[in-house]
Symmetry: C2
Amino acid sequence: MLNKFCKKPLYEVTLKMANVATGVEKADMVIKNAKLVNVCTCEIQEGIDVAIAEGRIALVGDASQCIGDATKVIDATGQYIAPGFMDAHIHVESAMIGVGEYARAVVPHGTTGIFMDPHEICNVCGPDGVKAMIEDGKRVPLKSMSNVPSCIPAVAGFEDTGSHIGPKEVREMMTWDGVMGLGEMMNFPGVIYGDPNVHGELAETLKADQVITGHYSVPDTANGLNAYIASGVRCCHESTRAEDVLEKMRHGMYALMRYGSAWHDMPVIIRAILDNKVEDRFACLISDDTHPDTLISEGHLDYIVRLAVKEGLDPIKAIQYVTINPATCFRMDHEMGSITPGKCADIVFFDDLNDIQITRTMIDGDIVAENGKMTVEIGKSAFPASVYDTMHVGETITPESFKIAAPEGAGASVKTRVMEIIPNRVGDYERIMDLKVADGAVQNDPDNDVIKMAVFERHHKTGTKGLGFLKGFGLKKGAMAQTVSHDAHNLLVAGTNDEDMALAANTLIECGGGLCAVADGKVLALVPLPIAGLMSDEPVEVVADKITKLDAAWKDMGCTINSPYMTMALMALACLPELRLTNRGMVDCRTFQFVDLFAE
Amino acid sequence: MLNKFCKKPLYEVTLKMANVATGVEKADMVIKNAKLVNVCTCEIQEGIDVAIAEGRIALVGDASQCIGDATKVIDATGQYIAPGFMDAHIHVESAMIGVGEYARAVVPHGTTGIFMDPHEICNVCGPDGVKAMIEDGKRVPLKSMSNVPSCIPAVAGFEDTGSHIGPKEVREMMTWDGVMGLGEMMNFPGVIYGDPNVHGELAETLKADQVITGHYSVPDTANGLNAYIASGVRCCHESTRAEDVLEKMRHGMYALMRYGSAWHDMPVIIRAILDNKVEDRFACLISDDTHPDTLISEGHLDYIVRLAVKEGLDPIKAIQYVTINPATCFRMDHEMGSITPGKCADIVFFDDLNDIQITRTMIDGDIVAENGKMTVEIGKSAFPASVYDTMHVGETITPESFKIAAPEGAGASVKTRVMEIIPNRVGDYERIMDLKVADGAVQNDPDNDVIKMAVFERHHKTGTKGLGFLKGFGLKKGAMAQTVSHDAHNLLVAGTNDEDMALAANTLIECGGGLCAVADGKVLALVPLPIAGLMSDEPVEVVADKITKLDAAWKDMGCTINSPYMTMALMALACLPELRLTNRGMVDCRTFQFVDLFAE
């Protein structure tokens, strides 16, 4: 694929490259005397210079002849240099910040390129949202290469999203500058069992000579996995067992081993490589979803590389997994992913191979971060007004909105379907519980940890909503609301009483979406996310701080689980077993059928 | 790059692939219970089935559910299967046969794809010759992927060829179906020192998102190699020392290790990998030039793989070097080079991993060769009439044509520049010798092994010719002529007497070009090569037999060196040191200047 993510395309500067290598012209910059992490041959080479011009590497070796009066020289004695790190699968929205701010958070950690899947904003704002992310990415040096979200809506027919993506949209978006492939094809049943719409999207991607990225999350590594890969899917980040990774690599699929803020698969699945004598050119390390506090406290790919090394992976291999391997996965290895002549000068510096802490990041030959801070100015957020206007709830929300009428002829109690969460897992259980009826309405049961939940459609004012009950959050009082509510990102509200729920809902409607916690008629914590109800336009540190305060508010209300807003964000995702509530009602996700709230 | 070399593009058949993998539809063919050479993970997997439909692999694993009544089942118990072999750099013309016949020779040896550089025919016939080769390739299952010849003429200004290639031609030819890159950029000085025409060709190739193949044959692995690679060249087959291979791989360049009929670099240069603990994803094995007799007696890539294994290379690695590695070099690994779902079903079978003898070759799911023979019909040669009409010498050749007039005022002898060959090397020496003058003409010196040589321009009837002297062939009588005469492929004649030289020349003019040996007024051996004066339209076995007879005739005439016609074929190649003779005259190839035949 032609590389749009560079200062100048190589075809414009081949002559300059040759001239600089031979010393006829002088380099813009020379890195002197580094220890090179050579990801091509998997070795460390000492005493290496790198000459850079036009944002590209002109020479690797002895660059004495490339240094002129105007050449900036970096003495890298004692330092390692490696290609800039690339994340082959990342949803920027999970960090609750835009691409520009995300870059500010990750570039100092050595990330120079991301293959982002702007799936969340696309659910809310459609292709315009994707375009807004791509545009926001242009104000930062980070190479923000975008995939086209493939599964909008995630579970068609069971929820209402802000948009829809099909083969026609994919065909058009594949022509966009900044697009590098198809986003994670979560509808693997649609691939395996031949949904024509799904295969239409695959075909449009392949026709555009782009890469299809995957999401295959079931343990069948036989027929299903073969069908999925044979349909053209090139990589997958959903392995949870070592054997998933092994079989994917054996089948020529890039195994993207994930370590996100919440999904800690890597230490388990990397055993596929560490315990088997297999070649690993199909292995990558990725983050998928990272929260703002993780970015600040731990880092990004550098953190995952360090963890992989701790698990026993050779550090050069770990670096291959975030450089040449993802570049080859996206067929961009002729442009990125190694410190070799002609490639973009995306280079990171560090001192200790066994504890990689990035001290300097270079992108396209410019030093863009040093000692943990960006060294270049980043312009203001470039999101258009439209993405700030996404709270379109078709009902004026009052405490009355949350009333759940008892079924006709109900007595003092009624058998009700309740969603019970499983701590630290994405699944839940369906529980049939007897809930009390009072004044014709079914009631919470705080003594048994049962609270109310509602999902209001917020994209097209359809006025639809779903009502139900949740168990397991431990709330003793108050309510919460959030518009980060996968994947349709409707307005999700849950709480112990209708008054606080109404306040929580209206607080978010007023601020354009986000997360909040409310108790006794007061807002305890608010994380405004006015960009599509998903992202803030404030600095990542501010967002992380607000998230910390939200966590504290949840604790005040009695919830003791980790990052409860994340578990809550999945309660409307109708593809996770067993029972979920969307704006259209309650869904049995084992049978993919709507079910009644009341069990007989 | 989109793959034009398949039965159907994947985007047309993703649904079918999925259906076959799951057993909803049945496979066209299933290979049962094979030992799979897995080039992705570098391991052998036993008991593997492969299901095939639409020419592509739908499943690798247990294919029981893919077998229907119409499914052809191959029991591969006890047999290995590997991806079909691909030659990343090959000149078909060197085998003196067209692409179709070449396919018949190599496909039974397991070659399923070649990246051919039709450089020789392009020198004679221009882009039309390249097109003729591509078209001839279409009549055979072998995937004949063509590069656009980059250096026509090879040494501009010092010889006359039939054609010319520049940036304009490259731009146009890059759009042709069947073109996959730029042919070997032999003009590495032009790259390194910034020839705008050369860089124009590179730029056009990169703009077309194609691969530039290289030819970098000097020992400078510092500035020159960096300049060359930084200009976008992705691979090179001209390494002659282990350190060349090592440095090329370290610089992200694919090192194509050559073992042709005449150039036996591989055993030496593979030490780069065997003696160093370096990763080898940038290593390939290639043939470059193979003669018809080698193809028949030894094979093609299978032969080179066997030799590499003998040198100590792990056989799975050797197979990677002719499968997934070349596929990745040409950015076609998503379509070829591994036995994984979705890829073209290009598969070879063999029984012994340590002595790989191909028993069956499959291309696009069809068995095309078994037990050393093609099993499919190959149509007649498809070359157009124009390539049969390439002998356009501007002079009626008689013995008088070879008279070399002594310089004015010469005495009984004259100091003359003589080209002395070096056995088994491509270079030669300049020797200054005293040659006798008789009747105003400079004479051969058979006692000192000095014969006459002439080069007649044969493309455009310019009537130009070069005359000189040669030492080292050992001819006692007779003469020879050949139109295989790199790279301009003019009519080269050499011999002990003018009468036989004239007969040799006219014999070739009459038959449309080729190779011949003549003595005492009789034609001893003739290999007619009527296609561009380079290739026969007879079967490879017939051509090999005629070559054997030609070798015998050379021996009859007193020449004892190996394959003398090959050494002779380089005597007009004005880029090899030290002294060469072209149709324009004598060239000092160290200084790139015309020099006088007489040394003062």
